[in-house]
């Protein structure tokens, strides 16, 4: 009996040891890529015990015929764990942490390598084909570039995971492979501590980080525990960034600002958080040197990013806060005079995207005579933005605030230079192909809600628009669905699953005039909701006469407490509902209608609409059945 038990136990143990997924668990921080160049790359991982690692790599998954030996791998520990050797100690890490940093050199440019980490003869990384890296193409080589940019994502929330998964699904569907991952800061809420990096960054992005280099910019939340001046802290433990121009550009001497080349693009990363942002400070001096060294023969595109965007009216106001103002006033003139094409930021929890602009350095920001093209930049819409080939000074920049990667969204207003201002979680995808830079905003459900192109195929003489298009609520327009319009509504029951789609049979639903609700004496159709139910569903069709109508629609809505809007069956706006739909909606925020109508720009969803008949569906939610009031009063306005 005992023999049989021991045999079974040994069998289970042997299975456990052989199972690749469980071997993987030996990493306390799974392997991830860092600092890549044309001929080298860094691999970083952690264990909770001393191991003697070897990295096997090669151009074929079946034949990892090259080796990075143990003596070529840096080992870092905390001082508490008696760190020794030349490498700087880890600022902080769990007890008994060993951080291994392998620099693999002598590689061929633009080549796909597979890798595996071994301890002796035991393979620690699973043999599933997902552990690979690609070296940078030679600087100046013509090659497509595809990157993913995210900001303010490190919450550990389901939304952060959804945004990540949406990117993975999109790439799978379109057979795309990332060349790099740009993080514009706030990747480890709340204070950038080592365990927060582990839980909110490394564990969530692990499938991407094992085969894609993340090039980071430090956010204010990392700034609580990491210091840009000294380069010490969990942020600097986590990343290996160039300090000596290893990947191109001028030597910065600091990991907190740096640059790198990829094909015919030059990327600049700045620290907007805790370094001197003045035009005479060391960072700005380095920036000038870096831009002066950027070869026009080898570079067509210039992309810069940092945490505090120069223009935003999301959860932060770039006209009020010093970091934003200084980056706009001191840094943007240097970049624009060097021909920067795209600037990415975060900090403000929203997606905002500008028109093609130049020279908007004043506070408050104004758009008059600062905009070259006030269209949407969409090749299928108003047309692509045009710039001259190469890096010509002051030909226009697009600004993107991509701070919608996971943290709670908010909008304080509309920046006059922004063409898009979208309160949806998501990320930004940038695809550069020859003379065209194509950018998409991918939301957390995997839908593209904004797209634009910059094309540099002919010489352009930009001219400034005296009175460009203005974002924000329209000053005048014509109601497509007026106030107190008649709607089909369902109250007291949950709607069936397909209730938002066009053609759904709502003949059994009641007719009523907006607004719907109770309490506050502000509703036309009074409902018996109090202490009974919390959700109401509205449907209506409306007609658009002209093809251009779809680009000028606004939702005006008076609501208490929350709602989700659908156009032709697709969810487009969610306000005050954290998760789920209909009976599964949770996290309902409180909001007072106050007899006012808030305006929501529907132009980002123009593609969902068509000339002729369209269907609008709205579900309204009350914070609690006992609430003293509820209001749902939607309108649709065609702005003029």
């Amino acid at each position: 009996m005992l023999f049989r038990f021991v045999t079974r136990l040994l069998f289970v143990i042997s299975l456990t040891c052989l199972a690749p997924g469980l071997a993987h668990a030996e990493f306390s921080r799974a392997p991830y890529l860092q600092l890549a160049t044309e001929n080298s790359i860094h691999l970083v991982w952690r264990t909770q015990a001393a191991i003697k690692p070897v990295v096997h790599f090669g151009t074929s998954q079946e034949n990892l015929n090259q080796i990075c030996r143990e003596d070529q791998i840096l080992v870092r520990r905390t001082q508490k764990d008696k760190h020794s050797g030349k490498a700087p100690p880890l600022h902080s890490a769990p007890d008994n942490t060993f951080q291994f940093e392998a620099q693999i050199t002598g590689l061929k440019a633009d080549t796909l390598y597979h890798y595996a980490i071994y301890e002796g003869t035991t393979r620690l990384t699973p043999d599933d084909g997902s552990y690979h890296f690609r070296t940078h193409p030679e600087h100046g080589k013509k090659r497509d570039i595809y990157l993913w940019a995210v900001g303010d994502s490190g919450t550990g929330s389901q939304m952060q995971k959804d945004v990540h998964q949406a990117m993975i699904n999109y790439n799978k569907k379109h057979n795309l492979t990332l060349d790099m991952y740009l993080h514009v800061g706030d990747m480890a809420y709340g204070s950038g501590k080592d365990p927060e990096f582990q839980a909110n960054f490394f564990e969530i992005y692990e499938p991407t980080l094992r085969n894609t280099v993340c090039w980071p910019a430090m956010g204010n939340h990392e700034g609580y525990t990491s210091k840009g001046k000294t380069g010490i802290g969990p942020y600097y433990d986590a990343y290996i960034s160039p300090t000596r121009g290893e990947a191109g550009g001028a030597s910065s001497g600091k990991e907190s600002y740096y640059s790198y080349d990829y094909g015919r693009a030059h990327f600049i990363v700045l620290n907007s958080h805790d370094l001197d942002r003045s035009p005479s400070a060391a960072m700005a001096q380095w920036l000038r040197e870096d831009l002066a060294k950027t070869s026009p023969e080898k570079t067509d595109w210039l992309i810069a990013y940092w945490h505090h965007p120069p223009y935003t009216k999301g959860s932060h106001d770039s006209d009020k806060e010093k970091q934003h103002i200084e980056m706009r006033t001191h840094i943007m003139p240097i970049l624009e005079s060097a021909g920067v094409d795209l600037v990415l930021g975060g900090h403000s929890h929203i997606y905002e995207r500008s028109m093609l602009m130049d020279g908007a350095y004043d506070t408050p920001t104004t758009a008059e005579n600062k905009i070259f093209d006030d269209g949407d930049g969409d090749a299928k819409g108003d047309g692509s933005y045009q710039k001259s080939p190469g890096l010509k000074p002051n030909q226009g920049t697009i600004q993107i605030v991509t701070g919608h990667g996971g943290q709670g969204l908010r909008r304080k207003g509309y920046s006059p230079v922004m063409k898009r201002s979208i309160l949806q979680h998501g990320s930004t995808l940038v695809h550069i192909s020859g003379d065209t830079l194509n950018t998409k905003m991918l939301n957390y459900r995997g839908e593209i809600v904004d797209t634009f192109q910059i094309v540099k195929n002919q010489a352009v003489t930009p001219s400034r628009i005296a009175k460009p298009w203005q974002p924000g609520r329209p000053s005048k327009g014509k109601y497509i669905i007026p106030k107190k319009a008649e709607w089909r509504y369902l109250a007291g029951n949950f709607a069936p699953k397909d209730w938002t789609r066009p053609g759904f049979d709502d003949s059994t639903w009641k007719n009523g005039k907006a607004g719907f609700g109770y309490g506050d004496a502000d509703d036309t159709t009074e409902l018996d909701m109090q202490n009974k139910y919390t959700s109401v569903y509205l449907r209506k069709t409306f007609k658009l006469q002209q093809p251009t109508d779809v680009n000028h629609l606004w939702l005006g809505i008076s609501y208490d407490d929350a709602f989700i809007l659908y156009l032709n069956g697709k969810e487009v706006i969610r306000n005050g509902v954290t998760k789920g739909q209909s009976e599964n909606a949770t996290g309902i925020a409180q909001h007072e209608a106050n007899n006012s109508f808030e305006m929501f720009d529907l132009t980002p969803y123009a593609k969902l609409l068509k000339t002729g008949t369209n269907t609008i569906a709205i579900e309204g939610h009350n914070h609690a059945p006992t609430s003293s009031d509820f209001t749902l009063h939607p309108t649709i306005l065609r702005a003029q």
Binding site: N220, Y224, A282, A292, K293, K320, K412
Partner: protein, 323 residues
């Protein structure tokens, strides 16, 4: 920079503080912890929101932690006088908390009140426990002296910072170099910048090191480095000026003039007339001065003063015009 060494704990087994200094340190750590927790609580909010919330709290109780936090929010909004007032109040309530003094010194510097920055920086120095803290205090003092054009005490403060942390930071090397230039310590300046460059590999330190060589008339040593830089760059004006200064020093005036004219043309094509880059404008002024065009040089200097350009950028132009 090495992390601070741990101080040996009391021999008493008790975890309670056994003297006022220890209590101060513990209290200071507690305050920092509170500040961190509070700042994170409001970290997703804008500073305007944080000011409102903290003002609400402060109406019921004057807490130094809340005052410190509100000062940080005011600083983010550029309301430096209000930030300074809150920090003064916080220091009155809790005079032994290092971050309050450091923050006040930084705020005074940001407000262009270097003399008023010295007092909190000196008080902070008394509260420092680690080499890193002391070095940062010395650099704050050095910055304050430097802004009030006291190169000698500023240089001394820089040296004290380097004594604490020999590797220093890029900005420390630059500040020390400016003081050495003002005091005419050319040889030491070259040596120190070279050390800084070898430690940090910063392109900025390299450019300043070469300038230091030219300032000390070491033209032959500077030329190969300059030529190396000029061989591979898109914009050459700043390095062409360096080369022209060397060539003039070596009596190769026609070559120097050629470089200067090339640099001037490049700057003219790049300079934004409505918002000129101060460094480009200063370079333009230097070219005019080197080409014996004093009116144009003076015009550049006037423009630099109009945009409140720091003294280190205008210093070379001013000295050239005085020659």
């Amino acid at each position: 920079m090495p992390r601070p060494a741990r101080t040996s704990p009391s021999t008493r087994p008790s975890s309670a503080p056994n003297n006022p200094k220890q209590f101060t340190i513990l209290y200071s750590k507690f305050i920092i912890l509170c500040a961190l927790v509070l700042s994170q609580a409001g970290a997703h909010e804008s500073p305007e929101h944080n000011v409102r919330e903290l003002t609400h709290h402060l109406q019921t109780r004057q807490s130094p932690t809340h005052l410190h936090q509100r000062a940080i929010a005011y600083r983010a909004l550029g309301q430096l006088d209000k930030a300074a007032a809150d920090l003064h109040s916080a220091i009155t309530l809790a005079p032994d908390i290092l971050p309050y003094h450091l923050e006040l010194a930084r705020i005074q510097l940001a407000s262009n009140k270097p003399n008023q920055a010295l007092k909190p920086a000196n008080q902070a120095l008394q509260l420092c426990q680690t080499p890193s803290q002391r070095a940062n205090c010395h650099i704050l003092r050095a910055e304050a002296y430097h802004r009030s054009q006291q190169a000698k005490p500023s240089l001394e403060a820089c040296q004290l910072a380097f004594r604490e942390i020999p590797r220093g930071e890029i900005e420390w090397f630059l500040l020390r170099s400016e003081n050495q230039l003002a005091l005419g310590h050319h040889r030491q300046r070259i040596s120190d910048l070279k050390t800084g460059y070898s430690l940090h590999h910063s392109a900025v330190l390299k450019a300043h090191w070469v300038d230091a060589m030219i300032d000390a008339s070491r033209f032959q040593a500077a030329l190969p480095i300059i030529n190396g830089e000029l061989s591979d760059r898109r914009w050459k004006s700043s390095w062409l000026i360096k080369r022209a200064r060397c060539l003039r020093g070596l009596d190769r005036n026609p070559e120097a003039h050629s470089d200067l004219h090339t640099a001037l043309n490049e700057i003219k094509s790049r300079l934004n007339s409505s918002r000129p880059d101060p460094l480009l404008l200063a370079d333009q002024g230097i070219i005019h001065a080197l080409l014996s065009q004093p009116e144009q040089a003076r015009s550049c200097l006037t423009q630099l003063k109009q945009i409140n350009c720091p003294a280190w950028i205008t210093a070379r132009l001013v000295s050239m015009m005085a020659e």
